[in-house]
């Protein structure tokens, strides 16, 4: 029975309305408890802030797409190496780190839970093998279901209950956590090299529209009572003028809203908030998006903030990635997955001097600051699409410090600077709000009840930072804040101290969450189904689901479906 007490820190626990109160946090056997014995190990957190462990709702860290990108880009790794130590495995960075390095680097920054947002169901084994070689973190992954032939056919034919049963089966078979949808309809069209360009375009060969796919899956999600809403990458991503598609997408499900939780999570909204007719007239649609979200409660967003750096773009949006290859001339990898999805990878560099990139940088921050409720706009860089996750500390300073933003604003392309709304935005997120956008809000949107907070019964995942709000102004002294966010004084995972002052002091492996949605009429696996599977895929039905025991530390989240 291991006990630990964190004494005298300034605790920020928004889900329990604790805003910088000086208090002790007690831990026993990996959980937050009310009190511990005097013999407990103790950490002196006086003069430091105490946050719940970081939760990242969308970061590409494992699976076929990520590993192909790693293989594609040896030049990404050469200059960023990690040597083996007695506790840690060696590895490489930079924008697509090797798996061990990914875990260690997240942990040093105080993150304890990371969600891999894109998994082709056919290659689920790959994603889970990589997650099990990613130390220090609890993880989960979202199967891509928006262009799944079964989804397209069921929704087209109005068989939503059938689809719900299939998706419940799929979540179990692939050990997935949520319904991921990318450019709905577009990925199937890309099978023959085409795309869709609007919510009411026809998906070739299937007689269905993106609007119908989105609405169908929102309904299925509600039927299954899944902890997270559908996780959606909109149509027309990355196209000038696409803020209208984003608005239309969010509007398309207003009537399906339910009481107690959002029904749609629009991911990396920055890439969907482009205004203007073309790249020349490119400008920010942040105001329109923010106004909508401020007045509606059925959606949550994450930013996908751009960082000025070289990085790698990778998404399941095959046609978009192909377009990016044409835009940049960089090497392009494509991987279409039968019956399910597509994918593409293109290296990319965001430059301060580019009017478009600089405007993108501004858009992300504008949305983050114009949306009033931080629970609605979570911080991500869509790692590595907007930038590597190791840039989070810098992004955090832009959110909490106008001076930090101004410093960067002064260095970016002149035209972008002139048009940027950041000139008129004074808002600085408080530490309380920062804790929401980097942990509390993320856990809440995911429906992970034991994460993102430090209340009794929560998992004992804690990040202690060297920031003293009584002495330092984190906004004014943003360089010191950035250094503090770069490496915790302590990272605690499951009640154990795992990182200290930038060093891993204990190597551990976390759990993988997946959702077991119990329906009243689960999928009957009969000969018909097996035959259909064989027609659709090139593998036998029996070889599709992950066998029991494949995951090293599975942690099923049991939900009772409504149907």
């Amino acid at each position: 029975m291991t006990e630990l007490i964190i004494k005298n820190g300034f605790v920020y626990d928004p889900l329990n309305q604790i805003d910088g109160e000086k208090m002790d946090i007690c831990i026993r056997d990996g959980k937050i408890v009310k009190s511990v014995k005097d013999t407990a190990d103790s950490i002196d957190a006086s003069g430091k802030i105490v946050f719940p462990g970081g939760v990242d709702i969308h970061s590409h860290i494992a699976g076929g797409e990520v590993d192909t990108a790693r293989l594609l880009r040896p030049e990404d790794h050469y200059k960023d190496v990690e040597s083996k130590t007695s506790l840690t495995r060696s590895g490489v960075g930079f924008s697509i780190p090797s798996t061990f390095t990914t875990g260690y680097r997240y942990s040093k920054m105080g993150y304890t839970t990371v969600m891999n947002p894109s998994m082709a169901p056919l290659t689920a084994r790959h994603t889970h093998e990589e997650l099990s070689d990613t130390p220090m973190l609890d993880t989960a992954t979202y199967p891509l279901l928006g262009d799944w032939w079964f989804s397209l056919e069921h929704i087209r034919d109005g068989l939503l209950k059938e689809n719900a049963a299939h998706i419940a089966w799929m979540l179990k078979a692939t050990k997935g956590y949520a319904i991921k949808v990318v450019n709905p309809g577009g990925l199937e069209a890309w099978g023959f090299g085409h795309n869709v360009h609007g919510l009411d375009d026809q998906v070739p060969n299937f007689g269905i529209t993106p609007r119908e796919i989105i609405r169908g899956l929102v309904k299925v999600n509600t039927m299954l009572n899944l902890p997270h809403s559908i996780h959606l990458h909109t149509n027309n991503l990355g196209q000038p003028g696409n803020y209208m598609t984003a608005l239309e997408t969010m509007k398309s499900v207003e009537d399906l809203a339910i009481e107690n939780k959002p029904i749609m999570h629009v991911t990396h909204i920055q890439f969907c908030a482009f205004k203007g007719e073309d790249w020349k007239g490119f400008c920010s649609g942040a105001e329109e998006i923010s106004n909508y979200v401020n007045n509606h409660n059925h959606v949550t967003l994450d930013v996908g903030q751009v960082v000025f750096s070289s990085t790698t773009t990778m998404t399941a949006d095959g046609p978009f990635q192909y377009g990016l290859y044409h835009l940049t001339g960089n090497k392009w990898a494509n991987h279409d997955v039968e019956t399910e999805t597509s994918g593409g990878i293109v290296p990319f560099r965001y430059k301060r001097s580019s009017a478009v990139h600089a405007t993108q940088w501004s858009i992300g921050l504008e949305i983050s600051l114009l949306i009033k409720d931080p629970y609605k706009i979570l911080m991500t860089t869509d790692h590595p699409n907007g930038g590597p996750f190791t840039a989070y500390p810098e992004v955090m300073t832009w959110l909490i410090s106008k001076s930090a933003r101004d410093k960067m604003l002064a260095k970016i392309n002149k035209r972008a600077r002139k048009k940027s709304l950041l000139n008129t935005i004074d808002r600085e997120l408080s530490l309380y709000e920062l804790a929401i956008v980097t942990r509390a809000g993320q856990a809440k949107a995911l429906g992970l009840k034991q994460k993102g907070h430090l209340g009794i019964g929560a998992d004992a995942d804690v990040a202690i930072f060297n920031i003293n709000p009584e002495i330092n102004d984190p906004a004014k002294e943003f360089e010191a804040s950035k250094a503090a966010f770069r490496q915790t004084a302590y990272t605690i995972k499951g009640g154990e101290i795992v990182a200290k002052e930038g060093e891993i002091v204990k190597s551990i492996f976390g759990k993988t969450y997946w959702v077991d949605a119990k329906t009243s009429m689960p999928l009957q696996v009969n000969d018909d189904i097996k035959r259909k599977f064989k027609e659709y895929w090139t593998i036998e039905f029996d070889n599709y689901p992950l066998r029991e025991g494949f995951l090293h530390s599975p942690s099923p989240v049991n939900v009772k479906a409504v149907i």
């Binding site: 040896p74 790794h77 083996k84 490489v92 290659t123 093998e129 279409d336």
Partner: protein
């Protein structure tokens, strides 16, 4: 007699998963759906296996216990400054993962069979990217199939029936009946030829390569699945295709680039390229551009002939350029059933796919410097561990001569030229027959390897052997430090 269904076949990169095995008294007595290679492995794998671990003492291999062999193997690795840990392609990912940890622990080089096979393909991808897909996309959608420098009839026997011209897809049908008609036609031609040789008393020969000189056959313009084979000689695969283009050996690069010129709306200002007349190349480019969805499957004819990764570069660039006109994909025909897994596992753990030097404590990758043959030929390795592979049979003689001079550990179930040179032999149970695991098909789809029979008593898996060696290495290193 129990029948085990949906068994994955642990032989080639086609990685069929529909094998049905009939088991009797812990022996496989029948392998349904398997090709000749698969059936041979399932039925005969145990015939010549090494029965116990062996250690070379005074020049002779003598029986040893597993513990003794593991201790000896660990000692060899601990004593070495620059060991190579090579092979990996015929075992499961679980073993490969331990392998990287072991290579890191002993500061060695982690290399796999891609280094003499599709390594150039990987290097081509690292330069140019790759428009790829899983095999099902091709089965459903491809109406134009190109096998370039690849002969699946011999090397991937069920590839065509599972994934390409003889497979059935949602949008494209199998061309099996057309092939049978053509076969009948060819057999008639042969009979006529034979008869006329007898009657007319002189040689009467049908020109097989009429495509070269008279243009592509009219079937190439029909609205159904068509197959083209490009090779230096007419293979059995070429016989089963609609169209065969014979390319001069060592000139694939030129032909690929010529096609690129045409696909990009340029003109060829020569009369022929690589032995193929300009008119034929122009027709070929037209066919490529006008298909609904095409695929190039390519093999060692491109990776191991003059140009190597530059050939792949050209093939990838051609495919990429074709995507400006239609949908086109490309896929390397991986040989061993889990060489793809070896690349994938090594990449996720180290960042690099093969030839990974861990001797400085962090991963380094520089093909030509850190790859097995190059290290061996420079005489720089002072020990080697070989698993699930037989380099002495396949490497250049100078490499094998180098291997003969250094301590060699072989993890292999059967006698091979490599085991004949080894100082320690650790025979494992067979992955995919006696041990379960995971392996990756040539298109990166991971599938389970099944356990269908029990291994002989005392036989443990590759991953267990490696785990024990790793543990022993750590113990020995600790002892040395104390």
């Amino acid at each position: 007699m129990p029948v085990v269904e949906s068994v994955t076949c642990p032989v080639c990169g086609t990685f069929c998963d529909d094998i049905e095995l009939v088991i009797e008294n812990n022996r496989i007595i029948e392998a349904k759906n398997a090709c000749a290679m698969g059936a041979a492995k399932f039925l005969n794998y145990s015939d010549h296996r090494i029965k116990t671990p062996l250690i070379r003492k005074n020049g002779e291999l003598v029986e040893a216990t597993m513990d003794e062999a593991i201790e000896k193997a660990a000692q060899i690795l601990v004593d070495a400054h620059y060991p190579i840990l090579y092979g990996w392609s015929n075992t499961c990912c679980e073993a490969q993962r331990v392998g990287v940890a072991l290579a890191e622990e002993v500061g060695g080089v982690m290399d796999n069979t891609a280094t003499v096979c599709h390594g150039p393909s990987i290097m081509g991808v690292q330069d140019a990217g790759i428009p790829g897909a899983t095999l099902g996309q091709l089965r459903h959608r491809a109406d134009l199939i190109v096998y370039w420098a690849s002969n699946p009839w011999d090397a991937h026997p069920r590839h065509a029936e599972r994934y390409s011209m003889f497979s059935e897809g949602r949008f494209e049908k199998s061309t099996w009946t057309q092939y049978l008609s053509r076969l009948r036609g060819d057999m008639s031609k042969k009979k006529i030829q034979r008869a006329s040789n007898l009657v007319l008393k002189h040689d009467f020969c049908f020109d097989y390569c009429k495509e070269q000189n008279e243009g592509l056959p009219c079937t190439m313009y029909q609205n159904k699945r068509r197959t083209i084979v490009v090779d230096v000689r007419r293979t059995r695969t070429a016989d089963s295709a609609d169209c065969f283009i014979q390319v001069e050996p060592g000139k694939d690069y030129e032909l690929l680039q010529a096609l690129r010129v045409l696909v990009n709306d340029g003109e060829l200002d020569v009369d022929e390229v690589a032995g193929v007349p300009k008119d034929t190349i122009e027709e070929l480019a037209d066919v490529l551009v006008n298909c609904k969805m095409g695929v190039i499957f390519f093999g060692l004819g491109l990776t191991m002939s003059k140009g190597k990764h530059r050939n792949i570069d050209a093939a990838i660039n051609l495919t990429r350029d074709l995507n400006g006109r239609t949908k086109f994909l490309i896929m390397p025909m991986r040989g061993h059933y889990n060489v793809t897994g070896a690349n994938i596992v090594t990449t996720w753990q180290t960042g690099y796919p093969f030839g990974v030097d861990l001797s400085n404590g962090y991963p380094r990758y520089n093909p030509g410097e850190t790859t097995a043959n190059d290290i061996l030929r420079r005489g720089e390795a002072d020990a080697m561990l070989v698993i699930a592979s037989d380099p002495v049979a396949h490497f250049p003689k100078s490499s094998s001569q180098s291997i003969a001079k250094i301590p060699l550990i072989s993890i292999d179930p059967e006698v091979t030229p490599t085991t004949m040179l080894a100082d320690v032999i650790l025979p494992p149970s067979f992955a995919g027959i006696e041990t379960e695991g995971t392996a990756y098909r040539m298109d990166h789809v991971p599938l389970p390897l099944k356990k269908v029979v029990e291994p002989p008593k005392g036989f443990i898996s590759d991953q267990e052997i490696l785990r024990r060696i790793l543990q022993k290495v750590k113990e020995l290193k600790k002892r040395e430090m104390d």
